[in-house]
Symmetry: C2
Subunit: 670 residues, 2 copies
């Protein structure tokens, strides 16, 4: 670290007020290494990756003059002592690229190193001159000297082999010598003896490697208390067992619960967010904390800790993992108000200001002050311990409520600290705020993020947004989890669109990103809204809402098939690798997703019109398959298994929303 | 520096292999400052500016929660001890901007600082609540407490004024109190007492401020030895005096000479780059060094040192400055070969490899080895001393030959070192190589650079190139000097285009950039080429070539007028501020340049067809003037002074190359 900082200090000479001293200039790298990717903010934050991912590195590497350069990537996981190394390839115009695969979870680092490859430079010139018929006897003598010097500065077997090469060369005719110099064995031998002159090293750039579920997972959200057949009977963890098979059959991986902690009584919200709760109103689970306990405790009506453990285990047996909500707010009955009054800002009248996330008001909630004198470090450590406590209960995924209203350094520390011991833990940021803050939460460590997807409805909006998420800086720092709805967001589009509209949004979410989420009721096409608002009428946040999951008109089968297609097609297991293609109809979004190795190529067409049939001519991306415009390709409808042959580039589609408002086709070469 | 490095070390925590310790997380900035511009490579290199330039700074600045931020730019020149400071303005979505003007030459630095403005946050909320009719008595009490605490932590007059404000507030009715809090006097007073909580500071970014001629200058190149009426008589510095009035009348500022040093005899090139020189062949001035001396000496046939000084003085009287060529190569007769054999790489046969810049071969030239053991630091210091020696002779501008074949750290040091004492010195990089290296030479300190302009001929090529130079990273690091020709480049376009073609290229160069250059003969439309090559036949590099500067068909008057227009229109004194507009003809390039304050707006249309008349409908950029499509504007032809009124946005032009292949019009609002 010290050497690196020193080097950075040297490079940053322009910061100083005196000119660059010659002694320092002589230490500056002769070889420039610029514009390396992937890098976030110059290396201040780690680039996101998942286990088994191939990291493609590009960089501009160049020096004065015409010498050949040797350029390598070095990388290692934080747990490894030694660096791996791989050669980069020159692409022209000083651009180089290379790649390596990260296998383990946790922090990794890479850098680029380059040096002047004197033997390669020699061989390059020798070959050119020899081919041009220019006399090369002097060059050959120089080459033999290079070999001899390499032998002299080495010992043992390498010395022997170099001496042998030198002797061999000395006995050959000129043309044979040229051939011997240019043979790959000579290059390999000389590379072993290479002094790596003018070695330059880029800064070390971090990569954060997570388990694959950080990039590919399907989330299902439910309120355990609503898993009951009678609104008067509070559902329990034990009740949730009955839902597991169906949720798994729909193809979900993550089962996410809003807070499961004791709910405060003071200022408890009543039905439909009213300021006065009736005696039987259960209150918002986000008003965390009562005499029973705080964030570490379980709301007694949900069951015991033992019940929770049994549910986690049962879910795991069904291939589901439980995700909890981490909502760092307190009801006014939270034990911390008495135990740690110094963690809060008290007003002159002895109250604490309730929480707001304009325009929303949370009269039943107060916030801690992370930088209050008494909160450092007690509050920070307590919060970390709470997360770790749930991790120890088998919870490996956390949805974090409103992280943008808590300090960024807190998240940077908490996530780093938790993942140092538990690299498998995933944090999803529920922030709906400015783009800069959304991205920054990814940078400081969030694995996944809520998105603007819910408010992107037109072809132009969706194209722009999906494309942006595929570009820097978003692609390096931000993994979008496309929720089609949440208890807080009943999207305007769904209010009047009918069943076809729900299928449209499900198709866009499932095909658009490796991560998508659904709050229960969506599969039943629930859409009753508070008039004029994007909020659910009779919101489950304030009352127990049993549901009939076999209600006619549901889209459970379609969701199950969409999730099945995702599992079977690697191209769909990420938001990356998405490209929009031409379909000449503004009501039809048409894009392709292709796996990194190119073997899996899925085309998705979604009509945005839930009421009318839409038709369009569209282009098959034959050029991406290296095919001519008149090529023949095979299509397969992934929703129903039909297969056909496409002839040529321009095709026609008709989408009837009353049947299915989208098409998902795998394209393969005949 | 140490504190700053420490902070960078903290920010770079992701580099370390252990998780972020809480103690360090607590020191991380709560406020994020991101994507600041202008910045080159994260601050590794200085952004270019000239005296009197307004530096526009933008940044994304944000923190958790809903507090108001105070955001400022701090800046200073390296010679100043104290920082200046200016408030930034919020533009929405976390974007902020501000600006300051740099006055002195030399290094400057700036950074952004931000803190949570607690009083502004209080006032913002107070205002909103009061307007909404919400009771605010508790808020008012909190506000008075803020004022009281501010008073308590200050002394003297500030204490008094705060106490007074507190007393005044305590005596007011609620509505009056609100007004008093929201009054700008209160904000100003509280700002003085502001503790600047959560102060965050961006890295410090360097700016390099040069004299205006670094951005705006017209270069004229001649070989002094050709200023003669007889090829058998070597021209001298004294002969050049006769050319000064005409060069100045053409509007040039810089008179640039190829190397003026003694020319070697060994391997001297003959006419047309032949390998054998006749006894009277003068040789290439780039084969520097003979028994008479090296880079510090003057070729005796040009005159004495005294003659040179007189020429520099006479040029200055004409408003011209002399620029010299700094070409770090040696003829084989250069004194260094004997004095400093360790500065060169000797081959096994006792020779030195001659220079090549593929595909060109320079058999009369050898290169030094900057990193030879004996060359450090002797060669580096010698070269610096040579430059400083010429600076002391009054030469403030250097054109550097092939800088991309010399080490980048050498230039970074040399330019920094020379400019520390002589900030007025300008270096022009004559590099024709990869884009990355071209940009990097600007980053390490070159004021100006040769460009690809010579090879950009079509409308698409010119649009793309001019636009690219106006964008990051080019706009921050690279000032293009558009040479229409050089002794080395006789552009293909000029071979057959006739006089109109020369006018086309002159118009593009003079209007495209603040910097342009011309090698003598261009004004006479000289174009005879070595068949099939972009080289001049009978190149002046190898022989003395007297010229008749009054030859019919010359374009001297047009060049003079173009340069006059440049002097009179600030918009044309930079390559920046250039935008392409619609002209519906692929043979007509049409762009506008507007001065930063918007007051000077010049439209340029250049036909690329030297043979045929071209016509086009084109758009006046009324929208940039805030005018409707049917507005009336005044046009002025800057070549001939004609004036007219334009009605509406769409206009028509006809360009007849046999008259003048371009139009330059100043547009003003009626």
């Amino acid at each position: 670290m010290t050497a690196e900082l020193l080097q950075q200090a040297l490079t940053k000479q322009n910061d100083s007020t005196s000119p660059l001293p010659l002694s320092q200039a002589l230490l500056l790298p002769r070889i420039a290494i610029e514009d390396t990717t992937p890098v976030i903010d110059g290396g201040d934050f780690a680039v996101k990756a998942v286990e088994g991912e191939r990291i493609h590195v590009t960089s501009n590497v160049f020096a004065d003059g015409h010498d050949r350069l040797a350029v390598r990537i070095r990388w290692r996981s934080a747990r490894e002592e030694h660096w791996h190394s791989v050669t980069m390839t020159e692409l022209g115009n000083n651009a180089w690229d290379g790649s390596f695969t990260v296998q383990a979870q946790g922090p990794h680092h890479y850098c680029i190193e380059a040096w002047i490859d004197q033997f390669a430079s020699f061989c390059y010139e020798l070959g050119k001159k020899h081919t041009a018929g220019v006399p090369v006897s002097l060059e050959l003598q120089e080459g033999r000297n290079q070999v001899l010097h390499a032998a002299e500065r080495n010992e043992g077997e390498l010395h022997q082999r170099l001496i042998q090469l030198h002797q061999e060369l000395s006995g050959l005719l000129e043309t044979e010598q040229v051939a011997r110099f240019l043979h790959e064995d000579s290059a390999e031998l000389m590379a072993q003896a290479d002094l790596r002159p003018y070695l330059s090293t880029s800064p070390i750039y971090p990569i954060d490697v997570e388990r694959r579920q950080a990039l590919f997972a399907s989330w299902y959200e439910l309120f355990p208390r609503s898993i009951t057949d009678d609104p008067a009977r509070h559902g329990t963890f034990n009740d949730v067992h009955s839902r597991l098979p169906m949720i798994r059959d729909m193809g979900f991986d993550v089962l996410y619960f809003p807070p499961i902690h004791p709910i405060g009584r003071s200022h408890r919200k009543g039905k439909n967010n009213s300021l006065t709760a009736g005696p039987d109103d259960p209150g918002s689970p986000y008003a965390i904390g009562s005499e029973e306990g705080g964030h570490e405790a379980i709301h007694a009506q949900l069951g015991s800790r033992e019940d929770f453990r049994r549910l986690v285990a049962a879910a795991a047996e069904h291939g589901l993992e439980i995700a909890l909500d981490f909502a760092i707010q307190c009801s006014q009955d939270h034990p911390w108000l008495k135990q740690h009054p110094g963690w809060f800002n008290w007003r002159p009248d002895g109250t604490i200001k309730y929480a707001e996330n304009p325009p929303k008001k949370y009269q039943d909630i107060v916030n801690v002050d992370f930088y209050a004198a008494d909160a450092i470090p007690g509050l920070w450590m307590e919060l970390r311990d709470i997360v770790v406590g749930w991790v120890q209960e088998g919870v490996k995924t956390f949805r974090v409520d409103n992280p943008h209203t808590k300090p960024l350094p807190f998240w940077q520390w908490l996530i780093s600290d938790v993942r140092a011991e538990h690299p498998e833990v995933i944090f999803l940021a529920e922030a709906f705020t400015t783009p800069a803050m959304m991205a920054r939460l990814g940078k400081v460590g969030y694995s996944q993020s809520y998105t603007y997807f819910t408010w992107r409805n037109t072809k132009a909006e969706l194209s722009e947004y999906f494309t942006q998420l595929n570009q820097s800086p978003w692609r390096e720092c931000y993994r979008p989890n496309f929720f089609v709805n949440t208890p807080d967001i009943n999207p305007g589009f769904l209010h009047q669109c009918g069943r076809a509209g729900f299928l449209i949004r499900a198709a866009l979410a499932t095909m658009g990103s490796g991560l998508w989420g659904m709050y229960s009721g969506f599969e039943l096409c629930e859409s009753a809204a508070v008039p004029g608002k994007e909020e659910y009428l009779d919101s489950e946040k304030y009352e127990i809402r049993p549901r009939d999951f076999s209600i006619p008109g549901n889209i459970i089968a379609q969701i199950a098939q969409l999730n099945r297609i995702r599992r079977q097609n690697p191209a769909l297991q990420t938001h990356l690798g998405l490209t929009f293609y031409n379909a000449w109809n503004d009501n039809i979004v048409y894009f392709g997703k292709r796996s990194e190795d190119g073997s899996n190529f899925v085309l998705v067409a979604v009509s945005l019109d839930p009421f009318n049939a839409q038709e369009a001519h569209f282009e098959l991306p034959l050029w991406e398959l290296g095919l001519p415009d008149d090529a023949q390709t095979q299509g397969e409808d992934l929703m129903n298994g039909h297969r056909w042959t496409w002839h040529g580039k321009t095709q026609f589609m008709r989408i009837e929303p009353w049947n299915q408002p989208f098409g998902i086709w795998r394209i393969t070469v005949s």
